[in-house]
Subunit: 283 residues, 4 copies
């Protein structure tokens, strides 16, 4: 027999919109004697799709509550009850330390709402940093391996940790759609962005050539098209013509690590719904 | 007999929090066949006070709906139904044009959700600008008048317009508590702010002396303590040591007018609750 | 005989970098008894190109000073002496008023360091606004005209004003390279930008689809490739999933007008050098 | 015999402004065959005081060059030649880790242009973090000690490291003017700031009460008046009514650590002059 859930939980519901949804859902919660601490809804107008995130307090049997909700909701409804336990995550990195450092420090001080199970990298340079924080480090070089073969090894190591989320903390390898499919909506990436955008290699060199005044960072879920998935968080930092391309890249790193950490906080606290190619964020 | 309301309305409710509020409110809306287009709630934790703003679509009799809601809500509940008609407003200004220009232009292009009934100023310099936009201008000099006497004249002119809101668009006179009491939570002001703050005269000179790097603006409701009322919107703009005190003031004006316009949009679209000394904003 | 220049002037010099440039230039200024109020230099490292902007006070004969400077500078040097008179400008617009309003208001209050000689538009909707400010309005419809024919008429009207700069205040027509060539580095445009960028039609719809969190604006000189010229100023404004594509566009307009006005201030006050595809800005 | 300086140096000069200063200074540099890589000047208008920072490349004898410059400059001139070696610094902290973590990580990756010689704290909680990075940690409790006695011990430990700068990385003790006098213009602090400001205890609680929308951070030199010294860098982060006072404090920490790191970069790279109560920053 499963223990009845107490303390605060998040209830996450999404379904096609129809009249009376909030009434029906809150009716079930009321009948169960649950207190609504915070409630957010959003109806996506283009698809008339309904999203609701409710923080409830009280004691209940999760399976019972889910079933009771299912009775009053459309058949297509997705219902999720989360007890907000720390998420199990693995970090992938390459050579740059700024995002990895940020996450390892926050992890060390229990600020991430996650357990960092391991770090995987295709270089060894971040092994020392990772070990200072007592986190297992897996060096999986891509040298001499085809992309599928390299990814197969990475997937194998990932599999032994069974992470809920995989975070690309400046992992500079393009991932195949096959890899991405293993962690659909559970793979989070951070990348630089510019106003306007630059395509092709050496974006900071291009940004310098055109004299951009603002450098940004975007944290997003990864989907089959690289750097095209639902955006979770973005921020910017100003630069000017006295910044060399190298200094622009440094400025970019400061904003990247904060944006990545902020996006993880949103995701790990169950504040993010993915709908088509966008994120609905309740913050 | 009053016409039944159709089209979209805002329902604004606030009351002490208790279990089942959302369920009861949405139950009434459901019974009336109304569709919830958007719903926001917030519970202020310190006072356990409940705030809800709901956009509903459908046909209903406002008095009936309000009465039905009153039946299910705590006695202390405030219930407000708004049809989102443009608000009736009067602008007060002194000599600086930037906020007044911004509001007159937005008004001319129907972007303000308000009717600017008149402009009142203690100087004549903005008469020409105001008249270009076909808005009545009242010049009420404070020269030779005591503060109470000057305010009495301003109040008299205001009274003939019966404005729902009075906007201080850089009106550089201190208002007495008696004046403010006439327009409690209906009087909106914009003022510069600094990181850190400077008290006393010539704040821009002080900001220059200390080499501030950021200049801000705060739009807020006015209460009995000048510049101390609930904050509606804030923003900032960067400056540096090459800015003279005069250039810092210019930068401040750019951010002031945008922040004031943004705060009015929030207030006029019924997105703002005032609770004690803070604003609950649903945007 | 030309009157000797008094009061404050800007001296603008650019040339290939070499040792002793500042020494030689300031030596000439010292010999002429001129006082340096402010001095900025920058050496572009990739091309080792030297830029200098000096504000000098004193009395001098412009032709003499220029000649004296030419004696000590490399043959390729460009030397420019500006007395910072208001620039002669013409504004081009289409239907949106926000940038035009902003510039007409600032012009009316002498804040633009420019004379707005006329407004040209391919629609009539902004005629009323323009005339409220006493500025000539030319309606030149593109209906029934080929692009070259329409541009020919616009160029003809422009020619009669002999503007130093042409400002595209949300002029929504693509300009041919031939048109642009008439006003090389004198044609300034404002356009929305996104993090990341979206190509093709309906960028705000795309931004909405992907759930962008930041909307930006870029003011730039126009060159032969549309929207690809040297950037003068940029800024951003935050949005979220509750913004419809239309509300995102509204937010974009607030930032566009401030960025355009800021870029014009930089250009009209002689603070901008264009070098290849970037701007060197001394602010 | 001292070795002649090669590679890139910074020359920092300040003195009362007078005609011909740049000419005279660059004349000396030219005579020594030095190449000016970058040059910044600023004249503070209120005091007509001149500041110049020049990056020069070439080989020279520092004492000779300084003497040659002294010959051509006013008697009151301060002349400083820096070879941009990493600065020797000590960090003071209390219980919060965010600023200390940030600096230790940047130090570990040689991004700080400084050697962190030691960390001193009045609590033990940050000992583990510090030791992970191989930096000496001194626990100097203030329990049972008067302020002068506690400061005496801290000063004694500081003295053995002879730091060029002391960084208050969230050191939550008020420092006496006597302590500050030991490190005039060499003591750097970070503190939260608000728009508007709040005086007294529990600023985040006050910020919450008033519903502030923006939280900022200010890095500054410490002078005899606590939190009143010359500002080096500032930044802000947006918050709203859904943030509890605790979440506002968390947001504040993110911005504090980035602003502190940025201010140290400016100071350690010799980009900051202090003049009266402000900083002149060449970035």
């Amino acid at each position: 027999m499963s223990a009845a859930a107490a303390s605060s939980h998040f209830l996450l519901i999404r379904c096609p919109d129809e009249a009376g949804l909030i009434y029906k859902i809150t009716g079930v919660l009321y009948a169960y004697g649950l207190n609504i601490i915070r409630n957010d809804e959003f109806v996506e107008r283009q698809d008339t799709y309904f999203f609701m995130r409710t923080e409830v307090a009280g004691t209940f049997e999760p399976a019972d509550l889910t079933e009771a909700l299912r009775q009053v909701l459309p058949a297509a409804a997705e219902i999720r009850l989360s007890d907000n336990r720390p998420k199990r995550i693995v970090l992938l990195a390459t050579k740059e330390h700024h995002c990895l450092s940020e996450l390892l420090v926050r992890h060390a001080f229990q600020e991430l709402n996650a357990h960092v199970l391991a770090v995987i990298s295709n270089y060894e340079v971040l092994a020392d940093l990772t070990q200072r924080f007592g986190v297992p480090f897996h060096y999986i070089s891509h040298e001499g391996l085809s992309r599928p073969d390299h990814e197969a090894v990475v997937l194998q190591v990932l599999a032994q940790y069974q992470p809920e989320f995989v975070v690309l903390a400046k992992y500079m390898r393009i991932l195949s759609p096959e890899f991405v499919a293993h962690y659909a909506n559970r793979l989070i990436n951070i990348h630089h962005s510019f106003l306007p955008a630059f395509v092709g290699a050496s974006p900071y060199a291009q940004a310098y050539e055109r004299g951009v005044k603002i450098i940004g960072a975007t944290a997003h879920f990864v989907n089959e098209q690289l750097d095209q998935g639902p955006i979770i968080a973005q921020s910017v930092i100003p630069v000017d013509h006295t910044h060399s391309a190298r200094e622009m890249a440094q400025a970019g790193r400061d904003v990247e690590k904060i944006v990545l950490a902020r996006s993880l906080k949103l995701v790990f606290n169950e504040q993010v719904f993915v709908h088509r190619n966008k994120s609905i964020i309740f913050d």
